[in-house]
């Protein structure tokens, strides 16, 4: 009984108390875009020439396909998107992957060099039709939602991106584990 209560506290209560939710400013259908625009995440989430990752596409790259009002449905979400397009204003997306200040992460090293697929870390994010709510730690302000497996490998919603996960993968693949590889 104690074990059950303890586990419930660990897996349900603590995360609920510790993390707060915020909704994204708009909804985005990754699946639809993958089907209609291109077959690769990399056509919108690009690596720059100097190897840095450009992250979330700018409103300009949305504009390459969406002239104001075109290629859209007529829901509330689309109307809001249209506003951003008209004003040429960046959409204030909440970035799931924001890491603490001391972390250095290179997308180039993991995709261009090690050849990992995006899904290895981001799971099926590219196949979703809706954006998950943004969950952030009430104490640190950092988001936790990026990783492919839930607690104790049970699957379920992505839960974490912890130093252990990086270290584990680096050891398993014989990659350098010196502090400065990931820290700054």
């Amino acid at each position: 009984m104690g074990l059950v209560i303890g586990s419930a506290f660990g897996f349900w209560a603590t995360p609920t108390i510790l993390y707060a939710e915020k909704a994204q400013p708009l909804q985005f259908n990754h699946k639809l875009h993958l089907e209609q625009v291109s077959d690769s995440c990399k056509s919108c989430h690009t690596l720059r020439e100097d190897g840095s990752f450009s992250g979330i596409p700018s409103i300009q790259s949305c504009k390459e396909c969406h002239e104001a009002g075109s290629l859209m449905g007529d829901g509330k979400n689309e109307a809001a998107f249209d506003e951003y397009l008209k004003k040429n204003q960046p959409i204030p997306w909440l970035v799931y992957s924001r890491q603490p200040d001391c972390v250095f992460f290179s997308h180039a090293a993991h995709t261009a060099s090690a050849g990992l697929e995006c899904a290895q870390c981001h799971a099926d994010h590219g196949q979703t039709t809706k954006l998950r709510p943004y969950e952030y730690n009430r104490l640190t302000g950092y988001s936790r939602d990026i990783w492919g497996t839930g607690p104790i490998g049970l699957g379920g919603p992505p839960h974490r991106m912890k130093m252990d996960d990086c270290a584990k993968c680096h050891s398993e693949n014989g990659v350098n584990r010196a502090c400065f590889v990931c820290h700054k």
Partner: protein, 269 residues
């Protein structure tokens, strides 16, 4: 890194460049010299003679990135059976109880992770070059200035030790670029801030083991030496000077080729 002490004029441009590259702040009271922080400090020495014969030299001192001889067994150097046998060690790494600092075999750089440091200051005590600093205060950044800090270097909090990292963030950027273009990190792709800033070209930076790099040629010169070599810290910063008194002073008057014979029994220098 090779620093030519005959070219160094002691202007301090390297210190300033280092401070702005690495988000080192100015404290409330910089007259408190014991607690001020300069990863790259310029020391002054002279030949001890009076006026007409006085000569002065300046020694810029970053972290030496002492090379650990054997990975995984820190401290082994102290237990060598034959004391004459060369065995190197990294003093700060072997004493850190929090593994907040380590020696990277791949790049040869000694890292320091402030978020892991518990502030015990063993490393500060162990470093024979005084290259490590303890953060006594949070930097009082004037309003608005934190936004101008470099995002590639995390600012340190009070209560941790910190030191020069050979501008590791620049290596990371150069490596990223090389990964994408499929090339290698070239000599000029990765230069430290102090190297770039030195107006007299006294500092040369590159891979010591790479015969194509200039530092490799420089360290084979007979005028090249390292600080306190007899401690077996095996530094990766080399100095060069054609002036004999400079070379002697830099190694505490112990001559290069007969280190042990002179180092041990003599006292009172």
């Amino acid at each position: 890194m090779v620093i030519d002490l005959d070219k160094c004029t002691g202007c301090g441009a390297c210190s300033v460049a280092c401070m702005s590259e690495n988000n080192i702040g100015v404290l409330h009271d910089e007259t408190d010299k014991i607690r001020s922080i300069t990863w790259m400090r310029v020391y002054q020495i002279d030949n001890g003679k009076s006026f007409p014969d006085t000569e002065v030299a300046f020694i810029p001192r970053p972290c030496m990135h002492c090379q650990g001889g054997t990975s995984g067994t820190p401290g082994q150097a102290f237990f060598q059976e034959d004391p004459m046998e060369e065995a190197a060690h990294t003093p700060c790494v072997s004493v850190c109880p929090a593994t907040a600092t380590d020696y990277d075999e791949e790049t040869g750089i000694v890292s320091q992770i402030p978020t892991r440091c518990i502030g015990c200051r063993y490393c500060v005590a162990a470093c024979p070059y005084h290259a490590r600093y303890f953060n006594w205060y949070d930097v009082p950044w004037p309003k608005g200035t934190p936004r101008a800090l470099s995002p590639f270097v995390s600012p340190r909090m009070r209560g941790v030790a910190e030191k020069c990292t050979f501008c590791y963030q620049r290596y990371q950027a150069a490596r990223n670029k090389a990964l994408v273009s499929g090339g290698e990190v070239g000599e000029m792709d990765y230069q430290t801030a102090c190297t770039e800033a030195c107006p007299s070209g006294a500092i040369t930076f590159g891979q010591l083991q790479n015969p194509k790099h200039k530092v490799h040629q420089l360290i084979s010169s007979e005028y090249t030496f390292r600080l306190l070599e007899r401690l077996h810290t095996n530094p990766k910063v080399y100095y060069m000077s054609k002036r004999e008194w400079v070379r002697k002073k830099a190694d505490n008057y112990v001559t290069r080729h007969n280190k042990f014979a002179q180092a041990a029994p003599q006292s009172g220098h």
